[in-house]
C-alpha cells in the first residue's frame, strides 16, 4: 500500500470535526494565530516556500497569486478574497467533502488568506446544489463569530444557482456581482480588477484549506511532501468503474495504478480497464497503457493530459468512446454561457456530429469535420469551457481512432446496444431547447 500522509484531513480519523472545541483540541486555529503574528508578506513567503499550486484545475502557484494583489497603499480600494466553492467539474467531489469534514480548517484558511492579501471581506461562492455543505459552513461560521475568532474580517457565504461556468473565476465574479455568469476578458486580471473592480484573489476550497496546513507545518516542511513541481498532497476524487470509489488524500506522484488498483480495488466484475480521465471531464483521456503515469502536474502534461481538478474517472471496456464523447460534449454545450460564438455554436456542433457517428449515419468526412470543429473552437474564446470540449473530444478520437472509424465503417455502433453509456439522457433543460435527440 502506498503511504498516505494526511494534511487536508489531518486529525479527523476519517470523520468530521464540527465543533470549535474538537477542532482546537486537534490543534485548530494555531495556524491563524501564527499567521496573524506575521506580516502579510511573510505569510505569502510561507506559501511560496510550500510550492502550493492551486487545486481548482489551473494549478497556478497560490503564493504568487497572492503576491500579485497590490498592497492597499498601492491601490487604495477594498481588497477581497473570493473562494471558489462552486465545485462542478464532472468527476470532482473533493471540495464538498472538505467543507463537510473540516469546515473550520477551511474557514481558518479563509482568514489566513485574507490576512495575506489584506482583505477585510471574504466571499465564499458555494455551489447552489450543496445544501448540507452550506448549512455546515453557515453553522461553523456562526460559531466562529460567537467565539470572536474572525478578527474584524467578514465572511459572506454566497450561494450559486446552478451554472458550471461560474467555476471560471471571472464568470464567478460576474455572478457574485449579480449578473449572468459570463466570463470577462483578461487582462485586467482579478488581482488588479476583480470583484467590484477592486483587487481580488480567487482561490479554490482545497487550496485555502491547504494554506492553513502550510502555516501549521511551515512552507518548507509542506514542500517535502509530493514530487518536484507538485508539492504536497492532493485530494483525489475517484469514480467510475472502480471497486471503491471515493475521495483519497494522497501525495502527488502516486501512480494511476496505485490509485486505481491498490487503493481503489481495481475494476469491478472482472472487466478490463479501458481508459482513465485523470483530472475531471475537461482533461484529455488516457488509455490502459498509461496506467503507470504518476499523478502530478508534470507527468500528466508529459502524458498528454492534465491533473486538472484531480477527479479520476475510471472507464472499463463496456464503454463506447463515441457515446462518451457525445455525453461529455452535451455537458459543455449545455453549460456554455453563449458569449463566444466558437463555443456556443461549436459545442453544439460537436454533439451533433458525435450523435451522427453514434447513430451510424456518418461518413468519413464527418470524422474530419469533427476534428476541424475542435480546431476552430480552440483558443478562440474568452474562457476554457469550449476549449475543454474541443480538447477532450479530439483526445477521444486520437486515443480510440479505431473505434470511431468502426462506427463509420459498420454504419452502426459496434457495441450493439451493450455499451455502459447506452441511451444515457442529457439534462432535461436540453430537451426543451429543441434537440432532435436528447439521448447520446
Amino acid at each position: 500500500m502506498p503511504e498516505r500522509p494526511e494534511v487536508v484531513f489531518a486529525g479527523t480519523d476519517g470523520g468530521a470535526v464540527l465543533s470549535i472545541a474538537d477542532y482546537e483540541a486537534a490543534g485548530g486555529f494555531r495556524a491563524l494565530a501564527k499567521a496573524r503574528e506575521l506580516a502579510p508578506d511573510d505569510v505569502i513567503a510561507e506559501l511560496e516556500a510550500s510550492g502550493l499550486r492551486g487545486r481548482g484545475g489551473a494549478g497556478f502557484p497560490t503564493g504568487r497569486k497572492w503576491a500579485f494583489v497590490p498592497k492597499p497603499d498601492q491601490l487604495p480600494k477594498p481588497h477581497y478574497l473570493v473562494v471558489n466553492a462552486d465545485e462542478s467539474e464532472p468527476g470532482t467531489f473533493k471540495d464538498r467533502e472538505i467543507m463537510l469534514r473540516v469546515p473550520f480548517r477551511f474557514l481558518e484558511g479563509c482568514l489566513i488568506s485574507a490576512h495575506a492579501i489584506q482583505a477585510k471581506t471574504v466571499f465564499v461562492y458555494i455551489r447552489g446544489e450543496y445544501e448540507q455543505e452550506f448549512e455546515i459552513l453557515r453553522d461553523s461560521l456562526e460559531a466562529m463569530r460567537k467565539a470572536k475568532l474572525l478578527g474584524g474580517v467578514t465572511i459572506v457565504l454566497h450561494r450559486g444557482a446552478g451554472a458550471y461556468i461560474c467555476g471560471e473565476e471571472t464568470a464567478l465574479l460576474e455572478s457574485l456581482e449579480g449578473s449572468r455568469g459570463l466570463p470577462r476578458p483578461k487582462p485586467p486580471f482579478p488581482a488588479i480588477e476583480g470583484l467590484y473592480a477592486a483587487p481580488t484573489a480567487v482561490n479554490n476550497v482545497e487550496s485555502i484549506t491547504t494554506a492553513t496546513m502550510v502555516l501549521e507545518l511551515g512552507g518548507a516542511e509542506y514542500a517535502k511532501l509530493g514530487v518536484e513541481n507538485s508539492s504536497g498532497t492532493r485530494v483525489f476524487s475517484l469514480s467510475g468503474d472502480v471497486v471503491s470509489p471515493g475521495n483519497y488524500e494522497l501525495p502527488h506522484g502516486i501512480s494511476l495504478r496505485e490509485l486505481i488498483y491498490d487503493i481503489g480495488g481495481g475494476v469491478p466484475n472482472g472487466r478490463e480497464l479501458k481508459a482513465v480521465i485523470p483530472g475531471g471531464s475537461s482533461t484529455p483521456i488516457l488509455t490502459a497503457e498509461d496506467i503507470d503515469t504518476t499523478l502530478d502536474f508534470d507527468a500528466l502534461v508529459a502524458a498528454g493530459s492534465s491533473i486538472g481538478s484531480a477527479g479520476v474517472i475510471v472507464i472499463d471496456d463496456r464503454c463506447c468512446m463515441v457515446q462518451l464523447g457525445a455525453r461529455v460534449s452535451q455537458f459543455y454545450e449545455h453549460e456554455s454561457c453563449g458569449k463566444c460564438t466558437p463555443c456556443r455554436v461549436g459545442t453544439r456542433w460537436l454533439t451533433q456530429i458525435l450523435q451522427k457517428i453514434e447513430g451510424g449515419r456518418a461518413s468519413q468526412v464527418d470524422l474530419d469535420l469533427l476534428l476541424s470543429v475542435c480546431d476552430r473552437i480552440l483558443g478562440k474564446c474568452l474562457c476554457p469551457l469550449g476549449d475543454s470540449d474541443a480538447i477532450v473530444v479530439a483526445s477521444y478520437v486520437a486515443r480510440f481512432r479505431d473505434e470511431y472509424q468502426a462506427h463509420i465503417d459498420l454504419g452502426r455502433c459496434p457495441f450493439e446496444g451493450e455499451s455502459s453509456l447506452e441511451r444515457i439522457l442529457a439534462p432535461s433543460a436540453m430537451h426543451e431547447h429543441g434537440h432532435e435527440a436528447a439521448h447520446v
Binding site: G91, E131, G162, E177, G178, C337, L425, A426
Partner: protein
C-alpha cells in the same frame, strides 16, 4: 418577515445591492412553490430596485431557477459520466415508471416532477439523486420503488 424585508436584509451583506439578486431569487422561489412566476420576479425587482426583465435575465441563466411550475416533490437524477457508468439511465427509467412521468416533465396532479441534470458533485457515490435538493447517494434502479413509496408516504402525511 415579509419577502421585501428579508431581501433588504440580504442586500446589506454586499457593497452593491445587485449582488443580492441570486439569494433574493432563491428566497422568492422558496416562497412561490419552487418556481418563479412573474409576480415573484416583480417582488425581487422592487426590493432590489432592478427591473423584472433584469431579474428574468438572471433567473433564466441558472439551472436552479424554474420559470415554470415544478412538482411539489422535485426529483433530479444526475446523468453525467460517472453516474451514467453506474447505471443512472436505469435509475431515470425506474423513476419514470414509478412516478408515471417522463424525465423533464411534471405529473398531471402536480405532485412530482422528474428531471435529468448535470453533475451534482457526488461522482464517487453514484448514482446521485436529489429530492427537493437533498442528495441521496448510491441510488440503484432497484432502490427506486422504495424511494417513491417513501415520498408518497411523506406526501400523504
Amino acid at each position: 418577515m415579509s419577502a421585501y424585508a428579508e431581501i433588504q436584509k440580504l442586500r446589506r451583506r454586499y457593497p452593491d445591492s445587485t449582488s443580492a439578486v441570486l439569494p433574493a431569487l432563491r428566497l422568492a422561489q422558496e416562497g412561490h412553490d419552487g418556481w418563479l412566476p412573474p409576480e415573484a420576479l416583480r417582488e425581487v425587482a422592487e426590493a432590489l430596485e432592478l427591473t423584472p426583465a433584469y431579474c428574468l435575465s438572471i433567473a433564466s441563466f441558472y439551472d436552479q431557477f424554474h420559470l415554470e411550475p415544478v412538482g411539489r416533490t422535485h426529483v433530479e437524477v444526475c446523468t453525467n459520466v460517472s453516474c451514467a457508468l453506474a447505471g443512472a439511465q436505469q435509475v431515470v427509467e425506474a423513476f419514470e415508471r414509478e412516478l408515471g412521468v417522463t424525465a423533464g416533465s411534471t405529473s398531471p396532479d402536480g405532485a412530482y416532477s422528474l428531471a435529468t441534470v448535470e453533475c451534482l458533485g457526488g461522482c464517487g457515490w453514484a448514482t446521485v439523486v436529489a429530492v427537493d435538493n437533498r442528495h441521496r447517494l448510491r441510488v440503484q434502479a432497484a432502490d427506486v420503488p422504495g424511494i417513491v413509496e417513501e415520498l408518497q408516504g411523506a406526501g400523504e402525511a
